[in-house]
Symmetry: C2
Subunit: 406 residues, 2 copies
């Protein structure tokens, strides 16, 4: 008898009819003899509607009260799903984050889960009940309601699976699983039956939106197998688990991409040791995250520094850099937000040196210039002009042999 | 410095604009130097919409889950009002029933408040904050969310006022206060500046819908002054408090009426001691409440029994009575739901015998037949044909001298 945690996202519980379907699926798992706990998000656009309400009340809604407001979204979902299960004769019991005691830090709107108490959940499971738990929310040390940020229900589900020592944490969503790249862009993208945690982390970090990055980190840290599968169509989905050394891993698992970044370049800097630090310090002090960083010294002894930030932070980052570069005579600032990032990810790269060559040969054939390059052991990411993104992903998918036989 | 508890009902917080107005009113009380805690209901028809959602999920929604669902309505209101106060620079903090710990019994949908913990509320008040508390909800001994029935936010407010030893509990609503009778029916009805708890209990019990009966019982038991006033217009409203023996009370305070009742009569019963009990037993066993009861023995030695039940229970009560009257040969069942009840209430009646005479003289002049009569020390209620109700209330209001000088 396995213990399964299933998480259903907002699109999966977006209406009364969809909640009835989820109840059928949960009832089927239980009928198979497994024990199951369910984590649900708020219905469809419920959270957006609550945000709109708050926007009508205050320009900067108090964060503590915002969490009290937003947490009602999941509370509605859990009660309705538990009712639907009871109606089917499946004993079920809903739990808010406070009732489980999903303990978190006190940073409202983006709290971090510190512990999940399991006493009430274990009792419910032992009594043959299906616990239906509100995702996205928790409670801090003084009993205040907290939320853990958008997409946080994935993390709630993994935290629950860890605490319950579940055999598998299933994320049911509106896609079939993780593909070699976004199938909306590349129709012959292939469903990946299996991925390592590391690969999924790189894919999520580079732009794949299938899973929330924190949830994968959490699952990897505690080694809980994650499975992404569709809540609408049957199929095994994608299993994300510890890399098995004996398995001959494919060279490349997938291609991730995003249009979230913008590039800032300062040319003609003095080649002094502290110059990069002096430029980046005010940026990190403003809580702006820097992704790719490249610095190179040219033959004239001057240094060029390039880095990328999220597009939301682009204007603020330029302003900060402009202030500091006045200290460096002769330096020139340039900035570009018409860029995109493409990354190829695969554990097989570790033992194969040829992947980078293949990548750059393909880019060269396409006439696409790599503006910045960053690598890890199992990833190569390049920044390219945004206009080239779609055709580039399609070509790479073909050239790297990721397409399924049609 | 007084401690005030204010309760705002659903119509007072029915929109963003109305919540902003409530925030202005609360801020004004605080600016006066008083300490204030606020209890709010769900916004307008929010609760009805939640009930509709549940109706789409299950024919008989699980009561525990129904409470989880319904309690989100007030949770939305408290967060929005607390945000609106914070936006005005008034420190405020919302509390769900679970967070206050409004302790209740475990009977979902109609739990009873057993205790209100005050530690967090007192701390908030001492810190200069305005606690904004969710009405209608509580928490039972195992931490499950409960609700205390429709209209229960009045009771929540009184319970909070009792626990905080507040100087006054103010119920802000869509009427100016308690009138001598319903001013929609009788335009020259007079606002009552002051009423005793007993009078308000009788008025609420006989059909006045201004206050929830349980909340008045609670306030009377713990002697917390209640004040009903409009959340839309200025004015002192009606103060409901302990009767002051030195004050010359008016003979009659008001006239209440309702169309909720239906009459069942069994004529020709044997005059045996257990006959009334045998007829009423199955009715009370089905949790049907019986209001007025009259039994009389006629000269032929047979007994007639009449009683009233709520119209919702009329068919079921008839069925039960029909079953039992088959045991009494020759008895005849008749039933009528085209009846209404009118009651005159006033503590002054205690010392004045003439009120009943005045009442029946007025009815006689109108040609209205009293079908049933029931009395208490400060009340006389009569059941009359429903068709006569409106003109009867108008005449009585005039004949008993309740109208204000126009």
């Amino acid at each position: 008898m396995a213990v399964i945690v299933q998480k259903y996202g907002g699109t999966s519980v977006g209406s009364i009819e969809l909640i009835q379907r989820v109840a059928d699926k949960v009832a089927a798992v239980r009928a198979r003899g497994d024990r199951i706990a369910v984590v649900v998000s708020a219905m469809g656009d419920h959270t957006d509607r609550l945000v709109d309400l708050a926007a009508g009340i205050a320009r900067e809604p108090n964060p503590r009260e915002m969490d009290v407001l937003l947490s009602t979204g999941e509370q509605v979902s859990i009660s309705l799903l538990a009712m639907a299960l009871c109606e089917r004769g499946v004993p079920a019991r809903s739990f808010t984050g406070s009732q489980v005691r999903v303990r978190t830090t006190s940073v409202h709107r983006r709290a971090r889960i510190t512990a999940v108490e399991t006493e009430r959940l274990r009792k419910a499971l032992a009594d043959g009940e299906v616990p239906v738990v509100a995702g996205f929310q928790g409670v801090d040390d003084v009993g205040d309601i907290t939320t853990i940020g958008r997409g946080g229900s994935d993390t709630s589900a993994v935290a629950l699976a860890v605490a319950l020592k579940a055999d598998e944490c299933q994320i049911l969503t509106d896609v079939d699983g993780v593909y070699t790249t976004d199938p909306r862009l590349v129709p012959d993208a292939r469903l990946l039956p299996r991925l390592s945690f590391e690969e999924m982390l790189e894919l999520a970090g580079q732009g794949s939106r299938v899973l929330h990055l924190r949830s994968v980190e959490f699952a990897a840290k505690y080694n809980v197998p994650l499975r992404v599968l569709s809540s609408f169509r049957p199929g095994p989905g994608t299993l994300i688990c510890k890399e098995e050394p004996n398995v001959e891993a494919p060279l490349i698992s997938g291609i991730a991409f995003n249009r979230d970044e913008a590039q800032i370049t300062i040319a003609g800097l003095p080649d002094s040791p502290d110059c990069v630090a002096r430029i980046l310090k005010p940026i990190s002090a403003s809580n702006i995250e820097v992704d790719m960083i490249v610095a190179a010294t040219s033959r004239d002894g001057l240094k060029d520094l390039s880095f990328t930030v999220h597009r939301d932070d682009f204007l603020e980052a330029q302003r900060l850099v402009r202030n500091i570069t006045t200290e460096f005579n002769g330096s020139r600032l340039s900035a570009d937000d018409k860029v995109a990032k493409v990354a190829i990810v695969g554990v097989g790269m570790r033992s194969h040196a040829g992947v980078a060559t293949q990548l750059f040969e393909s880019l060269a054939r396409q006439g696409v210039k790599a503006l910045l390059i960053s690598t890890s052991e199992i990833k190569i990411a390049v920044l390219i002009p945004e206009s080239a993104l779609e055709s580039c992903v399609k070509c790479l998918h073909e050239d790297l042999g990721l397409a399924r036989a049609l």
